[in-house]
Symmetry: C2
Subunit: 278 residues, 2 copies
């Protein structure tokens, strides 16, 4: 069984430090990792980069920049500064792919059209810096249930429209099965992402039912929910995606479980449900 | 202040019987009602029709038929029989508009493409009977968080595509703000619904945050959540919609409150947030 495209997103093993996640990957034979920035900061950027490199792991992406919707000048400056820093971190970690979760409405705001325009405006300011640094900004559509408070990009088509003004190696898009499985346009938009060479990441996790009481934690281990990984995986494959496949799960039960056991389950489910269609 | 387009969907006052809801509307000067079928059955169809008629109320729609995704012959026959019955009930209640919540995946099923095809197949069987009876089937896109278990129609565009083979007075679509506010294509699809004369209902309620622990109950009173009723209401108006505006809220706090007080709040919020743009 080949796990050579499997990547652990560190959100899946939330209680592990970056060092523990790196050790866990090495122990489990998982060749790639997608660290969250809070765990990178905790370890220190240089040390984080060194420990990943010395462990022989590949960094499939950095999670995450974004939150670009501040309406005021100070908030916009702070968001830009944080995203510039995220680009520098991606460089240090030797990954090309920087995820952006673009942010939701400002407090009290209801105008989604205006808030989306601010995302486009900030992107315009960010792209040149990312390009100079050889980093691709990866727009991630989030499930519409998170539109108001996390990401006003809700569909892959919308992400591709937002990316359209920029070169494909400057702005890409992510397919995260949890967020997009329900989209009636999904097949067509994955094909489009392939044609436009913007498919920058494929993240797998399931959509569990009932929705968790904290809706953010409804992500499940592949096979535990309703998602048809064979079909979506086939669309991603046919669109020409050959990169890493990240497992990113927010789920209290999985977070409470032993990290090594989680990685073993993850490999088993990957082998059964993902790899045959990849 | 004119409430002549306001309609109470009986789900909003869940603990009220149909008789209580009818009395509540009369008392509050609300001229229209959208009854749920369980409350109609409880009262008895003939008696329900008579009490609404004698109260001088208009029935803006009947909620709801649908659940068309059964994969087996028995399940499909039962679904058709139930929807034929719902058409007859709509006739008895003197409303043209029968809402359909089309249903989700079958137990254990993951193939959304196949399940959506079954919706299209059942619709083909239902339409002639509805047309004979002068009833319009109203396809309601539900928020994508309910795609797996309640409705595999998640966007207005998808509903319009499904309606496309049929005359506009046979199959219409509903705009329920809770379900569609996040859709980046919303303006364009409301315009399209207007052009195609399929805009059969406008339902208003808010999208509350955080999402309720029972995700079905996150619907809120207009003004309590994130939805921009001015903008969406303007799009619906500009698309030529002049019909009733229903308030349909599933919310435990509202269900626990005094029904008459809920109707007063509903009128106040309607006057402030809905009517100026209608």
């Amino acid at each position: 069984m080949s796990f050579d495209r499997l990547s652990l997103n560190t959100a899946t093993t939330k209680k592990w430090t970056l060092a523990e996640a790196v050790e866990g990957c090495v122990r489990a034979g998982i060749p790639a990792i997608s660290p969250w920035r809070d765990r990178v900061h905790e370890a220190g950027l240089d040390k984080a980069a060194r420990m990943i490199r010395e462990a022989g792991l590949r960094v499939s992406s950095l999670c995450r920049g974004g939150f670009l919707t501040a309406p005021d000048a100070d908030g916009q400056a702070a968001a830009l500064a944080d995203n510039f820093e995220a680009v520098r971190e991606a460089v240090a970690l030797e990954t090309r792919e920087l995820f952006l979760v673009v942010g939701g409405l400002a407090p009290g705001e209801k105008d989604v059209v205006a808030a989306r325009q601010r995302v486009a405006d900030r992107l315009e300011e960010l792209v040149p810096f990312a390009v100079e640094n050889g980093v691709r900004l990866v727009l991630e559509p989030l499930h519409p249930m998170y539109a108001a408070d996390r990401a006003l990009i809700s569909t892959l088509g919308q992400a591709l429209d937002l990316a359209a003004p920029y070169p494909a190696d400057a702005v890409g898009v992510a397919v995260d099965t949890f967020h997009v499985w329900w989209d009636p346009e999904l097949k067509a938009q994955i094909q489009r992402a392939g044609r436009e060479s913007r498919l920058a990441s494929y993240q797998v996790c399931d959509f569990n039912l009932p929705i968790a009481s904290d809706a953010l934690l409804s992500r499940g281990m592949m096979g535990d929910g309703v998602i048809d990984f064979a079909t979506i995986g086939g669309w991603v494959r046919d669109a020409g995606y050959t990169g890493d496949i990240e497992v990113e799960i927010f789920n209290q039960e999985i977070w409470d479980a032993d990290g090594n056991a989680v990685l073993e389950t993850m490999k088993k489910r990957y082998a059964e449900l993902i790899l045959p269609y990849a």
